[in-house]
């Protein structure tokens, strides 16, 4: 049973108080209202953008309102005439009331101001969050406000409230970037400040600005109105402007710490951890197996999506802060006692997931260079190995690796490139944009088809035997399971097969004992999801080697977190993670008001015949003016929550 005393969350009033307005009424269930716990912890009272939730009937609503208003004031940008001044005015009225000079009329005035700001605020913070819950407080807790004069001393008392801020886009972003914040800085023509804000949580802004899967854009409040903000491209513009303007350096640490930290793998996770630890003053060494840094961003994502000078520049900045990267230095066995003897105080494993998984068909076990793993194919290309184009190549898989292989093959001069995927287009994990571009570039797609055997003639691949599939019940991933159609076998002629059916981490560096303690049944490293710590004290892990193949921004996020967590570990503090808004629908808000429609900014794409001449970047970016214009579309949907 939910024991809430009062909730006005999302405008739904639930009043279980035994005194006051709802006295004597039957207790209503709080179903669909606010979760009883916040991030796994109970709370006494909470005020958030979408209402007021009181668990403990003795909670001080007036003090809570004040605490909320103080936080709201800091978030109000102050650009429009109603929001910030409205907050100031309400605070002043409350102060007047506390001094015993207020009455009923003052509450009426507060109500009028709140409604005015909600209807006429410039941004969505003003309309949805700045003052909205105050309306519920003065309406349903009138007596508490009118009793203020007797409580003047209490009113001024400092109370311990916690607060958290998010936005629909921020909440969707794995790294919780302050998206409205950096967009606002772009809007105000402050590209450098914007970039600095991005770098706080995303140290590869140019890379992410090009290759992020941008789930934030799906959460954008404008999505169903006139189209999401081009959040990814705005981030790219901050990075591009900085590069064009001479490239700024990263801040170097203010104090040096003597503790040494070893990081294994210079992918996004390793780099992010290195940056933050170095910024805190730690001595950081990254051991990297390859001659290049960037992990899959260096040896996976192709040049036409991510020009390598962008990545290299961003890696260089991290190196220039004093992070040492030892290239061509694979850690074959992670000998933790030895590393400790060498003076390392903590280690962070970020080895990614580089081993291709098998297709699971006949003839695959025979080693030959016309049947290759997708990730390996891409890695070889990136490391400068010459590919020998053949007439026809079949790529098995439906993810980004398959698409990247296919679009690379087209550019390398393979005549016919065909992707074979066992489910339908709707289930395809590869990004919709990528699929569209691949079709543009003449990649052929065959759906609902699964390979069963590789056909060889005189030792050379001649074809691949396949079966037709139909879709059955959804599987654990929620996607419909492909079911073979009996008797539908056929052979697809091909000279080469690329298997892009997934990757898993290579954990040969762990000892057998560590493998038992530290790994999951999926062959990934087991960690505490918040602190990135493993079963072995001092060893942390993050990125694809923990999550399995995921995304750049998730890897960066784990690097960010691991750095904080390692710092807490070394300083003997408890690690405090950001609040997770679990169970709270951050897209919800009361009336949105009218949003004048504007068009989303568009960028140029390279013509197909130009693309196929080489590996030039396909997608263009915003120039400064276009970025500022797009940034003006941001509604700034900050959501604030204050609780006790």
């Amino acid at each position: 049973m939910n024991t809430m005393a009062f909730s006005s969350w999302n405008g739904k009033i639930m009043d279980n108080r035994t005194t006051g307005k709802g006295a004597g009424k039957a207790k209503k269930s709080a179903e669909g209202a606010f979760p009883a716990q916040l991030d796994g912890q109970s709370f006494a009272a909470l005020m958030g953008w979408n209402g007021l939730v009181i668990v403990d009937p003795k909670a001080d609503v007036v003090a809570l309102t004040l605490a909320y208003l103080k936080e709201a004031k800091g978030l109000s940008c102050g650009e429009c005439s109603v929001c910030m001044i409205g907050i100031d005015r309400v605070l002043d009225i409350l102060k007047k009331m506390a001094a015993g000079k207020g009455d009923q009329h003052d509450l009426g005035e507060i109500e009028e101001i709140v409604k005015g700001v909600m209807a006429n605020g410039k941004c969505n913070f003003g309309r949805a969050a700045a003052l909205t819950p105050v309306l519920d407080a003065v309406k349903y807790f009138k007596a508490d406000f009118l009793a203020l004069p007797n409580a003047e001393k209490k009113f001024m008392e400092h109370k311990d409230y916690r607060s958290a801020v998010t936005a629909p886009c921020m909440n969707a972003c794995p790294a919780a970037l302050d998206i409205p914040g950096y967009i606002e800085l772009i809007r105000n023509n402050k590209f450098k400040e914007s970039l600095d804000l991005v770098r706080d949580r995303c140290i590869l802004p140019g890379v992410i600005g090009r290759s992020c899967t941008h789930i934030c854009e799906d959460a954008c409040v404008r999505k169903d109105m006139d189209g999401s903000l081009a959040i990814r491209l705005l981030k790219r513009s901050a990075a591009d402007q900085d590069l064009q303007g001479g490239a700024s350096a990263l801040t170097t640490p203010k104090v040096e710490k003597k503790e040494k930290i070893a990081i294994v793998g210079a992918g996004p996770a390793g780099l992010a951890a290195a940056y933050h630890l170095r910024r805190m003053g730690y001595q950081v060494t990254i051991f990297e197996a390859l001659p290049k840094a960037g992990g899959m961003a260096a040896v996976g994502i192709p040049d036409y999506r991510l020009p390598k000078d962008i990545l290299n520049h961003e890696v260089d900045l991290i190196k220039r802060m004093g992070v040492e990267i030892r290239f061509n230095s694979p850690v074959e066995l992670l000998n933790w006692p030895d590393l400790q003897k060498e003076g390392y105080a903590a280690a962070f494993l970020a080895v990614g997931a580089h081993v291709g998984t098998k297709i699971g068909c006949r003839g695959e076990e025979i080693a030959s260079d016309d049947v290759v793993q997708g990730a390996e194919f891409l890695r070889n290309l990136s490391l400068g190995k010459q590919a020998v184009p053949v007439n026809k190549v079949v790529i098995i898989g439906g993810g980004n690796v398959a698409l990247d292989c296919a679009r690379n093959c087209i550019r390398l001069g393979y005549k016919h490139v065909e992707i074979v995927y066992r489910r339908s287009p709707a289930e395809m994990p590869g990004s919709k944009e990528e699929i569209g571009e691949a079709i543009h570039e003449n990649v052929k797609f065959t759906y609902l088809t699964a390979p069963v055997g590789i056909v060889r003639k005189v030792g050379k691949v001649a074809g691949i035997e396949c079966m037709k599939m139909k879709l059955g019940e959804p599987d654990a991933s929620g996607r419909k399971r492909p079911v073979p159609i009996k008797g539908s076998e056929f052979t697809l002629k091909t000279d080469m097969v690329i298997a892009a059916t997934g990757q898993k981490p290579d954990l040969a560096l762990l000892t057998d004992k560590e493998k038992v303690d530290m790994t999951t049944t999926w062959g990934t490293i087991k960690t505490d999801p918040r602190s990135c710590s493993t079963a072995v004290g001092g060893i942390f892990a993050g990125g694809d080697c923990v999550s399995g193949p995921a995304t750049l921004i998730e890897a960066l996020n784990m690097g960010n977190k691991a750095a904080k967590s390692i710092d807490a570990y070394l300083q003997g503090k408890t690690f405090a993670d950001d609040l997770i808004f679990e169970g709270i629908d951050v897209s919800q808000q009361r009336d949105m008001g009218f949003v004048p429609p504007t068009k989303t900014g568009e960028v140029k794409f390279l013509e197909v015949d130009e693309r196929l001449k080489g590996f030039a970047e396909v997608e263009g970016g915003f120039n400064a003016a276009a970025a500022i214009k797009e940034a003006q579309r941001c509604l700034r949907c900050y959501r604030l929550m204050v609780w006790q």
Partner: protein
């Protein structure tokens, strides 16, 4: 062209035009403090509100930021509109009681304004100067410094980037409250906190423009400074 109606009057408006401009063309009085015909709209003062009918419901909208659309219905004088403008004006007056431009609008919109001796000419953050400097002058010497998550700024304000300023005075000209002041004494111009040396016209010998402005024009147009040393009246 699109068909819209303003207060019941049917008109044809140019595509992409904003409702405020269309209403102004019909000589309908809509109060504004942050609008200028030659600049992008900013929607800061919240005084230009109108009611717009969308999806069958009337909603408040800042007319300067609302583009006309086929079939759009607009009300510029409804009770809701008046109420909303009055509240915005009352808040502005609450914050800037000594600024004449604000007192005038507030009074006009029905806010009770008490007499005062002060003439404080506050910056009301309308953004006219920043937009002029960025969009027209292209010097980018003025930028908004606003608050937000993780930024600890007590009062939002306009940041003056001294090295970028060319002393053209456009911001003082466009300022709606007289906050930006420009003064001239003995061949010098003072604006914000910067002092500019004025150039003398080769022809009439009068001071006519800051040297830095001429240098800026020369840099952006490629015309040598020596060719720019004549004032407008003598050209």
């Amino acid at each position: 062209m699109v068909n819209i109606s303003i207060n019941g009057q049917k008109i044809r408006a140019k595509e992409g035009a904003n409702v405020l401009q269309e209403a102004k063309d019909l000589r309908i009085d809509i109060p504004t403090l942050c609008y200028h015909n030659d600049l992008t709209t900013f929607g800061a003062c919240r005084l230009c509100t109108v009611e717009v009918k969308t999806d069958g419901a009337w909603k408040l909208a800042a007319s300067c930021q609302t583009e006309v659309a086929e079939g759009m219905e607009v009300l510029t004088d409804s009770d809701k509109v008046k109420e909303s403008r009055k509240l915005a004006a009352a808040l502005l007056y609450y914050k800037y009681p000594g600024t004449q431009a604000i007192r005038d609008v507030a009074e006009k919109l029905g806010v009770e304004v008490v007499p005062t001796e002060t003439d404080s000419r506050d910056c009301i953050l309308c953004g006219l100067c920043t937009r002029t400097c960025h969009e027209i002058v292209r010097a980018d010497a003025l930028k908004f410094q606003d608050r937000g998550l993780g930024r600890s700024l007590e009062e939002p304000k306009i940041e003056f980037i001294s090295p970028a300023c060319i002393g053209c005075g456009s911001c003082a000209y466009v300022c709606s409250t007289g906050f930006v002041r420009m003064e001239a004494v003995d061949g010098k111009r003072m604006i914000w906190d910067k002092v500019f040396k004025m150039a003398v016209c080769n022809n009439c010998g009068r001071y006519f423009a800051p040297v830095e402005q001429l240098e800026f024009i020369s840099r952006t147009t490629g015309v040598p400074v020596s060719n720019l040393m004549t004032c407008v009246s003598c050209r």
